[in-house]
């Protein structure tokens, strides 16, 4: 079969975390739909999106969990950290408070994921440069300090959004290649694609769950 819907080698699990209203859902939407969602109700609990990308010639399905930002939902969303291969930690460059809370988010991410989880720092709303409250340099320094990859993005214009998701995937893939990520580990956040169960007659791809 040619490039069908199930034709990918790995599933990578991502989570998107960060304060309320930093634009987590919009980043996800921009990445999966390639457009800005101007008016959408905020997330309660957890939402979900997927997209298939290509890294080094390998098709990879990204399974992205978008979480609610309100403090009290952390109790719920914490259970989604487990088994995430990538964590996108988002703040809003126009609101310093969201930047200030990063250390708390980082603590959660570090504590609840495995050591190989790639944590990517995203400063969102780069299109609102006039209202900037956090400088690039300051955030870059924080990222370097904590060993994070950092990009400023705009879910509105789409600037750097693709890069942030793809860069994270590249890092995870690299971890697989160099053996630092153990695929057999239950919480690695990476699943090699389940081979389709072939029927005895060898009738090609059997229908599987499509998530």
């Amino acid at each position: 079969m040619a490039a069908g819907p199930y034709n990918y080698s790995y599933i990578f699990k991502y989570i998107i975390i960060g304060d309320m209203g930093v634009g987590k859902s919009c980043l996800l939407h921009q990445f999966t739909e390639k457009k800005f969602m101007a008016d959408c109700p905020h997330t309660i609990g957890v939402e979900f999106g997927t997209r298939i990308i290509e890294v080094s010639g390998q098709k990879i399905k990204l399974q992205i969990w978008d979480t609610a930002g309100q403090e009290r939902f952390r109790a719920v969303t914490r259970s989604y950290y487990r088994g995430a291969a990538g964590a996108l930690m988002v703040y809003d460059i126009t609101r310093r408070s969201t930047y200030n809370h990063l250390s708390s988010w980082l603590t959660d991410a570090r504590n609840l994921t495995n050591p190989n989880t790639v944590i990517f720092l995203i400063g969102n709303k780069s299109d609102l440069d006039a209202q900037r409250d956090v400088t690039y340099e300051e955030a870059k320094a924080f990222a370097d300090e904590n060993g994070l990859t950092f990009l400023e993005c705009s879910a509105k214009t789409g600037e750097n959004v693709e890069d942030a998701f793809l860069e994270t995937a590249r890092k995870i893939y690299q971890n697989i290649q160099d053996g630092s990520l153990d695929l057999n580990q239950a919480d690695s956040g990476v699943q090699p694609k389940q081979l389709p169960r072939t029927t005895p007659a060898g009738g090609g791809d059997a229908k599987q769950c499509n998530c």
Binding site: A3, P5, M20, G21, T32, E33, A38, D39, C40, P41, H42, I44, G45, V46, F48, G49, T50, R51, I52, W65, A68, Q70, E71, R72, F73, A75, V76, S79, Y80, S97, C209, N210, C211
Partner: protein, 520 residues
């Protein structure tokens, strides 16, 4: 008759004329015979003239005078002869006259008789005619009335059939739009997105034309229904509640119209009208106090008619918080609104910030909530702030904004505030919306157990896909299904929850999940 008269008169005149003629002639020849009376004598033949006879006797005796006498006799004889002739003639006339008189008399009698006869005949004719006519008319009446009866019964039959067919047609229309609704699908492709839905309908634009026709028809009854154009080509339709609907794809617009039509048809059903009537009676009887009994439950289960929704909600809420209202006083809500903050200022500031962030993210596609200047947005802010000041332990929890927003579409801000109070402190345990959502999370576990027990197929499927059910259901609990069901259904879920609290919510959830239960 007049002809007879005239003829008679003419005859009479003729006889008079002859009489006069005779009299003149006699005068001329016998001037002494004045006394001669035709009328008295009657018959001229019997008339004898003594003078003439004596004169003729004298002439025979005198020879001298014989020639003269002979002449005279001659002339006398002639005259006598003439007289006789005239007498005969007169006699004839007399007879003729008599005959004519008789005839005249007879004719008069006859005329009288005829007159009488004609009169009688008229009478007889009239009566007969009327009788016949009456009989005819009677028969006509009988005939027509039987015909009318036939027609009438046929008409009754036909109208029954028409009613049957119309009911059938209505049912078909309803089922048709319902069927079209089920033609929506999510195609399997690389990018699984909820936005990627399509409606596949066979038959070209047949269905579009048909649906538009049905829509035109329905809009005559309910003009608030959208038009096809208002939904497509960059336009947007604002529904009853203020939500904007706009579709890039015609087929999706069609799908939306079908949902609206289906609802419209359902509201037109007699059963629905009866249901509304029952509500009306119930409200009149209950005097706005609802007792949780069989009748109330049955009514609520079948839905609160939109006309009574506000009233019923208000009463249900009031019943729940009436003790609070007594405790805090009449002006509690107003005082909270005008209050500048509580002792715990910093705490409420955090909530205030979070509320501000969510105001425009509550119902961005609703005209009452789409911009910072909208009335709905301001009311929402006031209500949520008042609630935070009222219960700073719970404070603002995302999800309350959806609930309050929905309520504001039907209720006043104050009632909305009391609903939040009733919901967080009466219907649900207070830990439901607390800082770690303890109650809500506990309910997720209960739900999972129930699903494993009642919908094992679904539970297994979720297990296989490694998906936590709470991912889907937590927001159902926290926002009372705000984004889980089409908005039109949402008030129904609200309705159901108000009288029965959490159990119903779980029941509704299982119901919703059961829809997605894979077939065994």
């Amino acid at each position: 008759l007049s002809v007879v008269d005239d003829a008679d008169i003419a005859e009479t005149r003729q006889s008079r004329y002859y009489q006069n003629e005779i009299r003149n002639w006699l005068n001329r020849h016998q001037p002494g015979m004045d006394t001669f009376d035709i009328h008295s004598q009657g018959d001229l033949s019997t008339y004898t003239c003594p003078e003439l006879l004596s004169k003729s006797n004298n002439s025979a005796q005198s020879s001298q005078q014989s020639s003269l006498v002979g002449d005279r006799i001659e002339s006398n004889l002639q005259l006598t002869e003439e007289v006789r002739q005239f007498r005969e003639k007169e006699h004839g006339y007399q007879q003729e006259l008599q005959r004519l008189n008789q005839k005249n008399q007879r004719l008069i009698v006859e005329i009288e008789q005829l007159k009488q006869l004609s009169q009688n005949r008229d009478q007889v004719l009239d009566k007969n005619y009327l009788l016949t006519r009456n009989r005819f008319l009677n028969s006509e009446v009988v005939r027509l009335s039987s015909k009318w009866q036939d027609e009438q019964s046929q008409y009754v039959q036909l109208s029954r059939r028409v009613i049957d067919l119309e009911a059938q047609l209505d049912q078909f229309k309803q089922q048709y739009v319902y069927l079209l609704q089920s033609c929506i699908r999510i195609p399997v492709c690389e990018r699984h997105s909820v936005e990627l839905v399509e409606v596949k309908l066979f038959g070209g634009d047949v269905h579009k034309k048909r649906v538009c026709q049905l829509l035109d028809e329905a809009r005559r009854i309910d003009p608030t229904l959208p038009t096809f154009d208002s939904l497509t080509s960059g336009n947007s339709h604002v529904d009853l509640y203020g939500f904007r609907h706009s579709y890039a794809e015609e087929s999706l617009a069609l799908h939306y119209i079908c949902t609206q039509l289906h609802q419209h048809y359902q509201s037109q059903l007699t059963a629905q009208q009866q249901h509304r009537h029952r509500w009306k009676l119930y409200l009149a009887q209950s005097k706005n106090i609802f007792i949780n009994n069989k009748e109330t439950r049955a009514l609520v289960r079948n839905g609160i008619p939109s006309a009574y929704r506000s009233t019923v909600w208000r009463c249900l809420i009031h019943q729940q918080v009436v003790d609070y209202k007594v405790k805090y006083g009449k002006y509690y809500y107003r005082n909270l609104c005008s209050s500048q903050g509580s002792a715990d200022v910093e705490f409420s500031t955090v909530h205030q910030k979070q509320i501000m962030l969510d105001l425009l993210r509550t119902m961005p596609n609703n005209v009452h909530f789409s911009s910072p200047t909208c009335k709905g947005v301001n009311q929402l802010q006031t209500v949520l702030r008042a609630y935070c000041l009222h219960n700073s332990t719970i404070g603002y929890c995302q999800g309350m904004n959806f609930i309050a927003g929905t309520c504001l579409l039907f209720l006043s801000p104050e009632d909305t505030f009391w609903f939040l109070v009733a919901l967080t402190e009466k219907y649900f345990v207070s830990s439901y919306f607390d800082n770690s959502l303890t109650g809500a999370q506990a309910d997720q576990e209960v739900l999972k157990d129930l699903v494993a027990h009642m919908l094992p197929g679904l539970a297994e499927h979720l297990e296989k896909c490694d998906i936590d059910l709470a991912t889907v259901t937590l927001n159902w609990f926290l926002a009372l299904f705000f984004d889980a069901v089409p908005f039109q259904l949402n008030p129904i879920a609200f309705n159901a929850i108000k009288p029965y609290q959490t159990e119903v919510e779980i029941a509704v959830q299982i119901g919703l999940l059961a829809i997605s239960e894979p077939p065994p």
